[in-house]
Subunit: 344 residues, 2 copies
């Protein structure tokens, strides 16, 4: 059976479409009352991850409630470090916290990786199975992973950080061990994404959330080559690479063998088009805070953005939607895109 | 009496020099054992700010210990919000915290501003007087201020933040009140910097630490025009504008009526030169984490950077030096620059 709404996939694959598709990073989450209801019945964020049937339910909620053109599986980028042997806790209002971190080559050698690690993420694959069944081909389903550098950053740093100076210090002081860890993470990501594809995702997105914290030289050495490896290994579905803050490497990201380039809200559409060309499919990049504004302004700014990017554009925010965003404003954003036509 | 070492000022004023000058953002601080000794005898960071004689002492320490080509007054960007009526606490390991924040136009109307607010910062001017006396014209003295947007961000948000979404929300929801607050902050900054100049600073630097959190359109509306006002009002000493993360506005920053453009570590020297031209004086931009590396690598990378920028360059990091940076590595960085000659 084919998809009822395949606009997102057609656009990702480079086709000319009648309008741009729209979805929001973090759409499955705290902006929806029906999400908060499920969440409050459980013991925190990770508990929800581990309940595949409920994870599938919150994955589908934004398709019902917002009418977006794609669903993204409710999950977390840190399931991979955990599968490799580094347990973490999600601390309310603080974010992830790893009681044990990587401090040496010996720690890296002890990690599980590749298929053996990815196989442990059965609860994610079950959530995908439930989602595929209940989504019933209404819209495409996106699978995702953190990028190697971003997962590396958490595994060394042990938590979020303004500077990730511990992780960067490790790159400077232990370049060889760093590459070893990045290789193991990359192998795990590839195995994990292949399993996700086998369980029905239609596109995979790589989130390099902390790309912008590296110097251009470090990103060239420790970031991009591992994303390139993933792009080479994943052939059956399109790939989106979203490297937040990596404006300095946008030309190199443009050369990756991926189908879609994600853009953060700092990037002027005209600048992105100048670097990437008019035919590269891009995704983004409204300021998430625009959705604090009002429907009229949201409509105006969104149409301006769509016109500036032109064809080959998937509408999204330039970052995940913030938890306290008014739902009516999110709906105004989605509705604006759905009413737009390139032809007019 | 003229300066014994005026290399920094000659470079800032556009002269061709024998080598680039060097100093480090946050050089007066936790990397120095003599700083930690003074600090431990007091009741926290703000207590040190309020002891002008000690603030002067820690200002001069890096000149003695590191041999840098400029001193920067030990102070804090948040003294201005405080002088305007918003008290803050500096919480160990967490950063600044404002018990009361700005939530409405009425709050803004109650704020003190301009000369009346700046006059309250007597302890800063006393610290400058002590510094001028004890520095004894060995090197130039830098005064500084936060940029209007960055101070605005703290006054609304009440603390540091990964997204500053409260502050950005205020910009979207209350544009008129936002401009009123930015005007009041700007007037205060101008009054404050003029007083600093009267108390002997040789150059002023504007830190727009959170520039990179704004969308390009918002920065154009709420960030740059107020920095431009400051540049117009300050005529007696050179000005450095350091807008961290504002790569998207680098061309517009280059057009400001300031003498030096500060660059963060994400900006390739070749990109900066392409946008700003070879004659614009720039400051920066080694990755602060490079100083976790080793003296040999620091030397190599620093020389590479100096050669890439060419003349009209003040060597610095692309961000403040991190507290746990090994002192010997900081010295290797400074020494490398001091041994360099453009002539070879």
């Amino acid at each position: 059976m084919s998809l009822k709404n395949d606009l997102f996939l057609r656009t990702a694959n480079g086709e000319l479409t009648e309008r741009p598709p729209v979805w929001l990073m973090r759409q499955a989450g705290r902006i929806l009352p029906q999400y908060r209801k499920i969440r409050s019945s459980l013991n925190g964020f990770k508990d929800l991850l581990m309940h595949p049937e409920l994870a599938a339910e919150v994955t589908i909620q934004p398709v019902d409630e917002l009418g977006v053109d794609a669903a993204i599986i409710f999950s977390d980028i840190l399931v991979i470090p955990e599968a490799m042997g580094l347990h973490y806790n999600m601390v309310e209002k603080r974010g992830p916290l790893f009681p044990k971190t990587i401090t040496s080559k010996a720690d890296i050698e002890k990690l599980d990786f590749g298929n053996s690690a990815a196989d442990k993420l059965e609860y994610v694959f079950e959530a995908l199975d439930f989602t595929v069944k209940n989504l019933d081909k209404r819209v495409p389903l996106i699978g995702f992973s953190g990028a190697p550098w971003t997962l590396f950053a958490y595994m060394i740093e042990g938590s979020g950080s303004k500077t990730f100076s511990k992780a960067k210090k490790f790159l400077y002081q232990e370049p060889e061990a760093s590459h070893l860890l990045l290789e193991k993470i990359t192998e795990t990501i590839i195995a994990y994404l292949k399993l996700k594809i086998r369980h029905g995702v239609d596109l995979v997105q790589i989130f390099d959330s902390w790309a912008g914290i590296l110097s251009p030289d470090q990103y060239k050495e420790f970031g991009l080559p591992y994303i390139a490896q993933i792009c080479s290994a994943i052939r059956r579905v399109p790939i989106t690479v979203f490297a937040k803050g990596a404006w300095f490497a946008l030309d190199q990201i443009g050369e990756l063998d991926c189908q879609v380039v994600g853009l953060d809200w700092n990037t002027y559409p005209s600048v992105a088009r100048e670097v990437l060309g008019d035919k590269r499919v891009v995704q983004g990049n409204a300021d998430p805070c625009l959705l604090y504004s009002n429907p009229e302004n949201i409509r105006e700014q969104t149409i301006k953005m769509i016109k500036e990017f032109g064809h080959h554009h998937i509408v999204n925010l330039g970052h995940g939607v913030y938890p306290d965003t008014p739902l009516d404003n999110v709906k105004a954003f989605v509705q604006t895109v759905k009413e737009f036509s390139y032809k007019v």
